[in-house]
């Protein structure tokens, strides 16, 4: 212990003797030189302070350019051109006649499945359709299109009055001698007429073009009766175009389209023109739904249902209201109550199975 103390004393003495020492002149000059070099470097790096920023901006611009290059419509148009020769069309259907040259032409009830772009087209017996790359010519009859999301050039359905530009959607097109009709179930379409005017078509809308009354989108606008129904193996009997159905939002499955009631039933309960115009209601509800204002959309439909509608329209409006309450508003009690009232009011509604399933899912009493 004493030795430790002694050692500490000696250490302190040595430290004190060291503290009297000063830096040598040469050493001091060397350090001073190094410090001034460091200061010069520092001011230099300050002057060049914009270089890292410029490098960053250049890098970011390059990345943006690359992204734009890979996602813009400009480049893919090249790849689309490369893609089109690789486009394959497969035609099936027992009552179908087809010819394949540079284009694929079909007559009758056919199912066409294409890759690049991926789409499925169902035609009826009296149809005549031609697939020419990304342009589909519907010469006559009716066809149901189911198009996956398209990158690059959109698919175009050419009709005598213009063409329908498709991005990714499900819709039916009917071509008649005097006019054409389109009924959109999902997604969004644009109708480009021969004069170059563009008319957007929203989900649930059914428009006719080639006649003065329906030159603009007219949801739920009653249109003339379609040609005589021709049951085909691909489409359910009596499933010929049923344009009067106010398809606010048809289901995602094909069955929803097939189950649309025949036109005869709707016309039996034909309301006055004023009463049948559910278009504004549907448009408003759709607008609110897109904005996420589900409760407001439900209120609009609720108020609309207080008015007098054809049974089918009322059925669809009421079904949409129920779906809103169940899936968007998520008000279980209201949904249960609504579905019960719906079944009571419409009895054998075409949505019965779905409603029963909903009642089971919601565990309604």
């Amino acid at each position: 212990m004493d030795a430790s103390r002694d050692l500490l004393k000696r250490l302190k003495a040595a430290d004190e003797s060291l503290s009297k020492e000063r830096m040598s002149r040469a050493g001091s000059r060397r350090v001073a030189r190094r410090i001034s070099r460091e200061l010069e470097l520092r001011s230099g790096s300050q002057r060049m302070g914009w270089i890292p920023m410029l490098t960053f901006v250049a890098g970011a611009a390059l990345v943006l350019l690359f992204l734009r290059w890979t996602t813009s419509d400009g480049l893919p148009s090249q790849s689309v051109q490369d893609q089109d020769p690789a486009m394959t069309v497969q035609v099936t259907g027992p009552a179908c006649r087809s010819e394949s040259n540079s284009t694929t032409t079909v007559w009758g009830a056919c199912r066409l499945s294409t890759t690049g772009p991926s789409m499925t087209i169902d035609t009826i017996e009296a149809s005549h359709l031609e697939v020419d790359g990304r342009v589909v010519h519907l010469r006559a009859g009716s066809a149901l299109f189911d198009v996956d999301k398209v990158h690059g050039d959109p698919v175009r359905v050419a009709v005598p009055q213009g063409e329908i530009v498709v991005v990714g959607t499900r819709f039916r097109v009917i071509v008649k001698p005097d006019r054409s009709e389109v009924e959109l179930y999902e997604g969004r379409l644009e109708f480009h007429d021969t004069a170059g005017r563009v008319t957007p078509i929203l989900a649930g809308q059914h428009i006719a073009f080639g006649v003065p009354v329906a030159s603009a989108p007219a949801p739920l606008q009653p249109v003339a009766a379609p040609p005589k129904p021709n049951p085909t193996p691909n489409l359910k009997p009596h499933s010929e175009p049923k344009p009067t159905a106010p398809a606010l939002r048809a289901g995602r499955d094909r069955a929803a389209v097939k189950r649309t009631a025949p036109r005869k039933r709707a016309s039996a309960d034909q309301p006055s023109a004023e009463e049948s115009d559910a278009g504004p209601v549907i448009a408003e509800a759709e607008r609110l739904r897109r904005q996420g204002r589900y409760a407001d959309a439900a209120n609009i439909l609720r108020k609309a249902l207080e008015r007098r509608w054809p049974t089918r329209t009322a059925d669809v409006l009421s079904y949409e209201l129920g779906r809103l309450l169940e899936r968007r508003v998520r008000d279980k009690a209201s949904a249960c109550e609504h579905w019960a009232r719906h079944l009571e009011r419409f009895g054998n509604t075409r949505y019965r199975t779905r409603i029963e399933r909903s009642l089971k899912t919601l565990a309604c009493e």
Binding site: A3, R10, D15, L18, S19, E21, V31, S36, L39, S43
Partner: protein, 182 residues
């Protein structure tokens, strides 16, 4: 602000920085040198290197330092950290494996010659037995009379760890004395 005035401001700032560094160098170099000399066992070249490292750090950090009259603590801390880094590097360089790989003789041979010349060998010989951090904590505690908490702040460790370092250093000294027969 025009380009000329911007340039002028930059030059003015540069001049100001140079003046500040010069003034701080004049004021603190001896203090830094003394501390470095202690941990460098009286080796002037080693201490000068430390002084250089400390003032290069000052040049890089001077924009963040405000009160030039109150930088004694900053210099004390930075000097200790520089010494610690250098001692660690030296410990690695002096390890047998590295010496064998690099084909070098012991680095401390030169230092020992310096210590003999200064008559410091006997005093500092036991310090060699300590690890760098222990060495710093021991010297700060016994020579500078610092509190354990203050030492912890300088070294960036907790007070309890400082206590442990000092205890280990003391026991190492006792062991060393026993082996040396003193």
């Amino acid at each position: 602000m025009t380009t000329d005035s911007r340039k002028f401001a930059l030059v003015e700032e540069e001049v100001d920085t140079r003046t500040r560094v010069r003034a701080l160098y004049r004021r603190h170099r001896d203090e830094v040198y003394r501390l470095a000399l202690r941990y460098g066992r009286g080796n002037p070249a080693w201490a000068e290197d430390i002084v250089q490292d400390v003032f290069v750090t000052l040049c890089r950090k001077i924009d963040g330092l405000e009160d030039d009259d109150d930088l004694g603590g900053w210099f004390y801390r930075v000097t200790h950290n520089c010494c610690l880094s250098r001692l660690r590097r030296q410990a690695v360089a002096e390890s047998p494996a590295v010496r064998w790989l690099l084909g070098r003789r012991s680095v401390s041979d030169d230092d020992r010659r310096v210590e003999h010349r200064a008559g410091l060998h006997e005093v500092f010989a036991f310090v060699d037995a300590l690890q760098p951090k222990q060495r710093l904590a021991f010297c700060m505690y016994h020579l500078d009379g610092m509190e354990q908490a203050e030492i912890g702040e300088v070294l960036g460790v907790s007070k309890s760890y400082v206590c442990k370092l000092i205890k280990k250093a003391t026991s190492a000294i006792e062991t060393w004395e026993g082996q040396d027969g003193r």
